[in-house]
């Protein structure tokens, strides 16, 4: 995975990620939009055969976009953790 910063201001972040497709981007977009400090979150895959995608985050100004991104990843991790726990529990009896 490779990350390139395309645009960065105090409340905006546009990054190009090599080796991330809909799997990661769509998940992150949804997690970002759950954050009330995030104004806009979107992603684009410029070419369907190339595996690079562009993620765009815009916050309302109180929180830095990279911080919002970090929190979004944290929430995604939390969900995975909960899933693993519930999955184990469901298989036990």
């Amino acid at each position: 995975m490779k990350v390139k910063i395309l645009k960065r201001t105090s409340n905006e972040l546009k990054i190009e990620v090599e080796g991330a497709g809909h799997t990661l981007c769509n998940l992150l977009q949804k997690r970002l939009l759950e954050d009330e400090n995030v104004e806009l979150a979107s992603y684009d895959i410029p070419h369907p055969l190339a595996s690079n995608s562009i993620i765009y985050v815009c916050t309302k100004g109180d929180v830095k976009p990279e911080e919002a991104l970090r929190k979004a990843v944290e929430r995604a991790h939390q969900m995975n953790k909960e899933f693993s726990k519930e999955f184990k529990k469901a298989l036990k009896p």
Binding site: M1, K2, V3, K4, I5, R8, L13, I15, V17, A20, G21, H22, T23, L24, N26, L27, L28, Q29, K30, R31, E66, L69, R70, V73, A76, H77, M79, N80, E82, F83, S84, E86, F87, K89, A90, L91
Partner: protein, 274 residues
């Protein structure tokens, strides 16, 4: 989040997952299909082939045979410390095949492949590879490696992995006159007529086609088919390479790893610039 196991055996698993959203289940599905590694024959050295099929076709057929996989004992070739193009004992398994039709026509089956590791064998002994007539011979050595579904479908540990919304069927008993048209038209036989009442027989098989709503003579229809956007029926059918439980736990692990890798790169890059 709540998970209920609806069905489980050696190859199939059906889960009811409550309290999640589409991006999560879709990420899980995509990871299962494209990122969970399993074993498949990747390289074949043909020593003798006098069958009617060309070497390439036999190699392709061998590649598509699902192999029982040991994820703990083997490394992905690109992650193996040997760094060798050819591979080592930790990232490659060799299988040999030596078949000859001595008495009349016969079929060579996957069960004739002899593996150097008794744990890495075809999931079924009855997969036909090629048919030989008398005096034809097939002798080869094949190398199986771990790989991922995104490179080639032979490395998919599943033959099917899908999800659908959990259906919700509401029947307005006041307006329904139990004409039975919805029972007749339903392709999955979800509904049943009980005396003069329409009842839901098996909710889970509903495909949300809404044919029953269209056929209902009442206006608006007395039957309503909708779905719960936070509840999913997750279906998984393993090829036999890995048990379904392992596939799901492995997918979650990979998803976690990818997220961790992503945020690490973002942190490094944003720190560099500021």
């Amino acid at each position: 989040m709540e998970i209920e196991v609806l069905e489980k055996n050696d190859v199939n698993m059906r889960l009811l997952i409550r309290g999640v959203d589409t991006p999560f289940v879709n990420a899980l599905r995509r990871t299962v299909l494209a990122e969970v590694p399993c074993m498949a024959i990747d390289e074949v050295v043909i020593i003798e082939n006098s069958s009617v099929l060309q070497d390439e076709i036999i190699a392709h057929r061998l590649g598509l045979i699902p192999l029982k996989t040991d994820l703990n004992g083997y490394n992905l070739p690109e992650e193996c410390p040997c760094k060798s193009e050819f591979g080592c004992n930790l990232c490659r398994v060799s299988l040999t095949l030596d078949a000859e039709a001595k008495e009349g026509t016969r079929t060579v089956y996957s069960g004739e492949l002899i593996s150097e590791n008794p744990d890495i064998v075809p999931v079924s002994d009855k997969i036909p590879i090629v048919k030989l007539v008398k005096e034809q011979k097939l002798k080869l050595e094949a190398y199986a490696r771990l790989g991922k579904g995104k490179k080639h479908a032979k490395w998919q540990p599943v033959s099917m992995c899908t999800y659908k919304y959990y259906p919700q069927i509401k029947i307005d008993s006041k307006r329904c006159d139990a004409c039975g048209k919805c029972v007749e038209i339903c392709p999955r036989k979800v509904l049943t007529k009980n005396v003069n009442k329409i009842e839901v027989r098996d909710l889970i098989v509903c495909t949300l086609c809404q044919d029953c709503m269209d056929v209902c003579p009442q206006n608006p229809p007395a039957i309503d088919v909708s779905w719960d956007e936070n509840t999913f029926i997750f279906n998984l059918e393993s090829t036999g390479a890995l048990p379904p439980k392992r596939i799901i736990t492995e997918a979650i692990k990979i998803l976690d790893k990818r997220l961790k890798e992503f945020i690490k790169h973002v942190k490094v890059k944003t720190r560099e610039k500021s």
